[in-house]
Amino acid sequence: MSIRVENISKRFGGFQALHPLSLEIPDGELIGLLGPSGSGKTTLLRIIAGLETADSGQIFFHGEDVTRVHVRERRVGFVFQHYALFRHMTVAENVAFGLEVMPKAERPPAAEIRKRVANLLEMVQLGHLAQRYPAQLSGGQKQRVALARALAMQPQVLLLDEPFGALDAKVRKDLRRWLRNLHDELHFTSVFVTHDQEEALELSDKVVVMSAGRIEQMDSPPQLYARPESRFVFEFLGHVNVLEGEVNNSRLQQGEAWVNLPRSVADGSAQLCLRPHEVRLQAQPDASANLPLQISAVSLIGAEVRIELEPIGWQVAEPWEVGISHNAYNAWQPMRGDRCFAVPELGHLFTPEQTAPQTLHWLQEAQSLPKMPPRLQQVI
């Protein structure tokens, strides 16, 4: 079922939680609402569900206006951040709740309810825990019960409010993958709220980035990453290294640091933003850039080695971060206190005149792309 949101706004007392915004969610897609706390993402989700009423605007499900339809009749599955399982009911009773409270005429017979509950619990791999109480389950199990319960009435819209927020990293990852598979299998339209950009990028077909009650950008994860439309989106999707300075003759300079821009840019103040993997570290400055840095920390977590750097002779608001491969780390053996120079490979230049950045390439396209085998046609 497609969801259309038109000019929805919401005010809580003196706080404008949502400025009028519109959004179109195609049938069967998994959409992530991403934003910092207070950006209005949960409010928007609750308005879609009908748990909150909007001050203005309309909501359409499959082209039908449901703005005035009570949450009870909207038939959405809603999963709460803290599970909201009924503590005095067993897992099976929790899952059966939605079926049992149906009006007598629509309610399936008791045997049918039992069968459906068993199937749902099998689907979330918790069949063996049907007679347990929620207090006896782990966080991940509780959230799966909450999902099974929300899916019991076969809703065509599934809404999830920070579904993995209260779980630890490992369980989160498993559940994420599992939800993705479930969604691909059952094809309901889902909207989930998260403040974790990794989660949003990994799980969603499209990500809606929100800030201060407004939609900043809605795009597929690769598009969002490659073409952020604003500084906010750019910064929210991961760490950003910033060089803020004055452009003069296509050279951006601040203190001792300077970068030659590969494209002519009007003189004036500008900010160059570089993602951690778009920067190369080397022992000597390059002809294109002189960015002296001192290593302040090295951490070997995950697939990359993350190096934190402080500028020498220029200023930054936040220390720089550069990711290098473990191979590079082993060859170079950087230590805290070592000095090096950063050389940009790809960057995004923000100027006060425009919100969208200009993308700058220092390397030739062909050179920067590693050789990959040609894509097999039949896969697509």
């Binding site: 569900a49 009908g50 748990l51 949450v71 009870r72 009749e73 909207r74 038939r75 959405v76 599955g77 809603f78 709460f80 803290h82 909201a84 399982l85 009924f86 503590r87 005095h88 709740f97 939605g98 409270v101 149906m102 109480y133 207090a135 006896q136 319960r149 929300a150 019991a152 009435m153």
Partner: protein, 284 residues
């Protein structure tokens, strides 16, 4: 240093929080002095009696009639309080209205008011020429000096028990649970009955039980409005008082021991049931 650590680890029973022995000791001493000693004294008073005498005192027809009146009135009063107290707690927790703080403070008035004052006020109000009594008399209901008056007095003095036990439970209740029930299509009544009420139930029952046991022993508020007619509106506390006035200390203690026992058994039963219920909910 290593030695110090070792000696510490040799004493794993050592508590991190200080003052355990002292605070527990004072608590136990206090409980003994204020609660256990008087109870023991009470039982000692009855020690002079033979079982036969004891039995005949506590099964005296007039006393048995007073048990019935007391239990009956206390039961109705506490059930009434269960309904009204739940409603009051609900209103105080769920809604915002001007004067909410004041109403909240007024809830404790029955506790703050001397029970005799409450009794005199209630009997003045409900007497056939009182404000309420005159109105009720027109529809043929007589409250003062009847068992109905006992119920009114008991209900008044023990209402705060229910309100004050249900209030914190309601405040802790997550709104998410109700919202979950509603998104699954439950009507307001179904959600209250199947989601909210089971969470309130232990607190509510405790409140009702406290209200009931308090009513069993209520004296001051009741005797002014009850009329105290033998076999009809005499409560057990009054029977104890009458024995005391006759300097029959043993007889008074015997009847008191029955009330004490009944209250204790009830409170224990509620506690055990509640622990069982909460164990299921909290998994501990």
């Amino acid at each position: 240093m290593a030695l110090a650590l070792q000696s510490l680890s040799l004493n794993p029973g050592k508590r991190v929080l200080p003052g355990f022995a002292l605070s527990l000791g004072i608590s136990l001493l206090f409980i003994s002095l204020v609660l256990l000693l008087p109870v023991t004294g009470l039982l000692m008073q009855t020690a002079g009696m033979t079982w036969q005498e004891y039995w005949s005192v506590i099964t005296d027809p007039r006393v048995v009639a007073s048990y019935k009146v007391t239990v009956y009135a206390a039961l109705i009063a506490s059930l009434f309080n269960g309904v009204v107290g739940l409603l009051l707690a609900w209103v105080l927790v769920r809604y915002e209205f001007p004067g909410k703080r004041l109403v909240d403070a007024l809830m404790d008035l029955p506790f703050a008011l001397p029970t005799a004052v409450a009794g005199i006020t209630l009997s003045a109000l409900f007497a056939t020429n009182g404000w309420y009594g005159s109105l009720l008399a027109e529809v043929g209901i007589k409250v003062a000096y009847t068992p109905l008056g006992i119920i009114v007095a008991m209900s008044f003095t023990s209402l705060p028990f229910v309100v004050r036990t249900v209030q914190p439970v309601l405040e802790d209740l997550a709104a998410e649970d109700e919202e979950a029930g509603i998104t699954m299509g439950g009507s307001d009544l179904t959600v209250f009955r199947r989601v909210v009420f089971p969470s309130l139930w232990p607190g509510l029952l405790t409140g009702i039980a406290l209200s009931f046991t308090r009513s069993l022993g209520e004296f001051g508020a009741v005797i002014f409005i009850a009329g105290n007619m033998p076999y009809i509106s005499e409560i057990t506390s009054l029977m104890i008082f009458i024995r005391l006035q006759e300097f029959d200390y043993a007889g008074a203690s015997a009847i008191a021991s029955v009330v004490l026992l009944a209250s204790l058994i009830l409170l224990f039963a509620i506690n055990i049931w509640q622990a069982h219920y909460l164990h299921r909910i909290h998994g501990r």
